[in-house]
């Protein structure tokens, strides 16, 4: 049982599919949680407190990290296998096959962009919130309260370069999910010619919803930081962004 997940091509792909599915579900949760920041900073901070250095949040974070590592390491192993299987001699002329999406052929490149973005994101938020709490400190590197997530969000997205980086990151994630979401059904065998159009449509809808949700928070806080006095929902009015 445990063997075929390591040494069979279809077993390895099952690992990609299941870990990918868990990460998509997490993204849906994370996106919904972020939207609260637009409605109420207090509500957002309540969620941050709930997901702070509590044992269940730490366990969930470790589990999530394990899924990311598994997904990424398996992707590397599979890609190396694929590269070898292609052979040393390559085609001199290649053409695009009709109906083949660009993203489906560039999942590793997109995945690497997503992982790099994830690293930046962890530095921006996790290292200034949960990590600070775990280390028993009451102030993060920016001199802010680690439990006040809303202020940290406002601060991070007041910087235009962060906004640009996050938009690039989310665009790569959108392309990655466009292929990944329907692909995970194909890998476990839950697909056929009737369901391909439906699954691909669902993948577009899910990936677009996730990305729009994240993007809304980034853009709203950036716009909010421009006008200063803007009393838009979500602005804690702390002035940390100035």
């Amino acid at each position: 049982m445990s063997c075929f997940l390591c040494n069979s091509s279809l077993g390895k792909k099952l690992v990609m599919s299941v870990t990918g599915c868990c990460l998509v579900l997490f993204l849906l949760f994370h996106m919904s949680m972020n939207l609260v920041a637009l409605i109420s900073p207090e509500g957002y901070n309540a969620i941050c407190a709930f997901l702070g250095a509590n044992w269940y949040a730490v366990v969930a974070t470790v589990g999530l990290a394990a899924f990311v590592v598994l997904h990424f390491v398996y992707a590397l192993i599979l890609t190396i296998n694929n590269y070898r299987a292609r052979g040393t001699q390559r085609y001199a002329v290649t053409a695009n096959e009709p109906g083949v999406e660009w993203a489906s052929k560039n999942m590793l490149v997109l995945g690497v962009i997503v992982v790099l973005g994830l690293g930046l994101h962890l530095v921006h938020f996790w290292s200034k919130m949960m990590l600070v709490e775990l280390m028993g400190q009451h102030q993060n590197a920016l001199g802010l309260d680690p439990t006040n997530g809303a202020v940290l969000v406002a601060y991070t997205f007041s910087k235009w370069y962060n906004v640009v980086l996050y938009i690039v990151w989310l665009a790569a994630l959108w392309l990655h999910l466009n292929h990944g979401v329907w692909s995970m059904f194909q890998t476990v065998g839950w697909a056929n010619d009737t369901w391909y159009p439906r699954l691909k449509c669902a993948a577009k809808v899910v990936s677009t919803l996730i990305i729009l949700g994240f993007m809304a928070v980034v853009v709203a806080f950036f716009v909010c930081s421009l006008c200063g006095a803007c009393p838009a929902a979500g602005c804690a009015g702390c002035g940390a962004c100035h």
Binding site: S8, A85, E97, S104
Partner: protein
């Protein structure tokens, strides 16, 4: 019609190959691609040169023997036909056509445009069969089979095993071929008996021979001369995972 051909020439499996350029003139638009190569070879023989080696057999699009990667497409730019069924009218007069052998680690070049596709035979031997007792002929209608199942089995059985799927796949994956073989038998009651064993054995052999992993790009079904759908790959995944979970 006149064409410039850039053809991969390679003396044998061990030699290093290279492209060579040839001119063919006064080709009728109704000449098939392989007939055009025959004309080229005729000229080469008359000129005392070595003819271009390429695979061919039935020239009716049903044997799966012809191959060739033409202008970046397996079996050329025409859809749903093998190379032998593609005609020169598909190309513009005066065009330069690049002809390469299948490129895949599991399909080594033997000579020029001929590759060894024995790996597909090995996968078939691993499980692409049904075991039946030799006896008197059974009643053809003894086991009723729904029309839809028979049709789907037949669609999968249309695979001629030409190797275009693995040759096209950026991962060098043979999944479409293996899936077509597993699927055509899995949809029939006679094939169900050995279903679990077959899926496991054929996938294990495919992995062993060094084919790559499917990443669901769908390039194989786009280039398949028999238009085999990747829905059969989904069925293979289902068959394999169900078989493994029962172990």
């Amino acid at each position: 019609m006149n064409f410039t051909l850039k053809i991969w020439r390679q003396k044998d499996a061990k030699s290093k190959g290279a492209f060579e350029t040839y001119e063919v003139k006064n080709i009728s638009a109704d000449t098939s691609f392989l007939e055009m190569l025959d004309i080229l070879n005729n000229d080469l023989v008359h000129a005392g040169k070595e003819p271009v080696a390429f695979d061919h057999d039935c020239r009716e699009g049903i044997c799966g023997m012809c191959s060739l990667h033409i202008d970046g497409h397996a079996h050329g730019p025409a859809q749903a036909v093998t190379t032998c069924q593609m005609y020169m009218r598909k190309f513009k007069d005066g065009a330069t056509i690049t002809i390469e052998p299948w490129r895949s680690a599991a399909f080594p070049v033997i000579k020029d445009l001929v590759v060894n596709r024995g790996a597909y035979d090995e996968i078939l031997q691993a499980g692409g069969f049904v075991s039946v007792r030799t006896n008197s002929v059974p009643d053809g209608n003894a086991i009723p089979i729904p029309k839809a199942d028979a049709d789907e089995s037949m669609d999968a059985a249309a695979c001629v095993g030409c190797g275009a799927c693995a040759a096209t796949c950026k991962n060098g994956s043979a999944m479409l071929f293996v899936a077509a073989r597993v699927s055509s038998l899995a949809k029939l009651p006679q094939g169900r008996v050995e279903g679990a064993r077959r899926a496991k054995a054929m996938v294990a052999k495919m992995d062993e021979l060094g084919f790559g992993n499917c990443t669901n790009t769908g390039a194989c079904q786009a280039e398949c001369p028999k238009q085999i759908s990747i829905a059969h790959i989904a069925r293979l995944n289902r068959e394999f995972l169900a078989a493994k979970l029962q172990d």
